[in-house]
Amino acid sequence: MIDVKNLSKSFGDHLVLDNISEHISSGEKVVIIGPSGSGKSTFLRCLNLLETPTEGELSFEGTVITDPKVKIDRIRQQMGMVFQHFNLFPNMTIRRNITLAPVRTKLMSQAEADESAASLLRRVGLEDKADAYPAQLSGGQKQRVAIVRALAMKPKLMLFDEPTSALDPEMVGEVLDVMKELAHEGMTMVVVTHEMGFAREVGSRVLFMADGKIVEQGIPDTLFTNPQSPRLQDFLSKVL
């Protein structure tokens, strides 16, 4: 589904991603872990070109999306993204937050979008919040709405950038539950997180990043119980 070839990204003189090549297949739940500053968020943000790679090639379902001629908006419509700080639109109701993109991109009519927003909100238990504004919601509720907003575009892939890092501890569970449900339904997911429990339970593959490289990867059980590289051993000893 996604092919990453020799991806590098630097901010000025600072090299953040160092020649990464990786393949993500449809249906996979890839969890990216690593110390802060290792480039995991930047890697994720490169996948939908929120960050422009300095070098390398990215393709999504056979289309080379790093090609400047590609209509990137069309590609992004097929990739949902959930941010650490939710980034809901504070000037709109929850319903409008969810329906704006599907309607403006002509994916659905307003009526269809309203219908789909209602059923998605019901799924995450927030059907009564459709007319509320983001400021009236708790952090956990905001993040669930943010997930719904991304899902409303019927994406083929969901990107999660530390979705629980800005939440109070008692709200982490409700967001992870929604993500687990999504995983069980077969959504392809790429998740940057510090939730090792989630990585273990949901991940079909875990990537460990450090210093702009994928240092080690594997299925969660092997990676967590039998880490090979000293860098990962050191990291796990600190977080587990």
């Binding site: 630097s10 901010f11 000025g12 939908n48 929120l50 422009t52 300095t54 908006d73 069309r74 590609i75 992004r76 419509q77 097929q78 990739m79 949902g80 993204m81 941010f83 700080h85 980034n87 809901l88 639109f89 504070p90 000037n91 709109m92 109701t93 704006l100 993109a101 403006r104 991109t105 504004y133 983001p134 400021a135 009236q136 907003r149 991304a150 575009m153």
Partner: protein, 244 residues
């Protein structure tokens, strides 16, 4: 002593009558007020249009991605905009009006028209900074969220960024309107027939400047007060979504 107070009240009645009633002079004040309001509104429209263009050019220039080749055309316009705001904000309004009247547009007989241009160009420089600040005050995560959903640049600006920026811009834009409204009185100095012009002329003709000048000062004050009220009301409505 009482007599002198009574005398003063009697005389003030006569002075007011002379300044405002006699010969239907109040019509002249209203005529002047009309021109003053016209100057304010048209100059503000020119200012907002100019300001928006300058703000968008400067924001687009500043938001170019780090480490990539800069667009040279944008760079050129950015320098132009920078010179414009620096010169306008660094020189007195009255000097600018005189330059428009006696240097750049010295053949133009319609001084109100010169006033439109002088005030509008002046206001544009301030409005540009106001709008630029407003656009930059919106969290970058907002445009990232919009773009990540597949919305294009213009839809993201139109539905997400500008409405939020507008809310932040409104108080400063209201202040700009008030400043502009009062600064229209400078147009009197280049011969524009607005409210101060009529008050000054009537003062000269009746040999009594106090009633007409205090009179128009009150008019300015009342209109600013009304406008401030309206502005507060509009801001309250826009803040609705922030309420918990």
């Amino acid at each position: 002593m009482f007599q002198s107070i009574i005398d003063w009240f009697v005389s003030i009645g006569l002075r007011l009558d002379k300044a405002f009633i006699e010969g239907g002079r109040w019509k002249l004040y209203l005529q002047g007020l009309g021109i003053t309001l016209e100057l304010t509104v048209i100059a503000l429209v020119i200012g907002v249009v100019l300001g928006l263009v300058v703000a968008v050019i400067r924001t687009a220039h500043d938001q170019q991605r780090v480490g990539r080749r800069k667009n040279p055309l944008l760079g050129f316009f950015n320098v132009l905009c920078h010179i414009y705001t620096t010169v306008i904000r660094g020189t007195p309004m009255l000097v600018q009006l005189f330059i428009w009247t006696f240097v750049i547009l010295k053949t133009e007989r319609n001084k109100i028209l010169v006033g439109f241009i002088g005030l509008g160009v002046n206001s544009g420089a301030y409005v540009a900074e106001i709008i630029r600040g407003g656009l930059m005050s919106v969290d970058v995560g907002q445009s990232e969220a919009g773009r990540s959903l597949g919305l294009n640049y213009f839809d993201t600006m139109r539905y997400i960024i500008i409405p939020q920026a507008f809310k932040n811009i409104l108080p400063s834009l209201g202040n700009e309107f008030i400043t502009l409204f009062k600064d229209t009185s400078l147009v009197q100095a280049i011969g524009g027939m607005e409210m101060l012009y009529y008050a000054y002329t009537i003062g000269g003709r009746t040999f009594d400047y106090m009633p007409p000048l205090i009179g128009i000062a009150l008019m300015y004050l009342i209109i600013v007060a009304i406008f401030t009220r309206l502005q507060a009301k509009l801001e309250r409505r826009l803040r609705e979504s922030d309420r918990r």
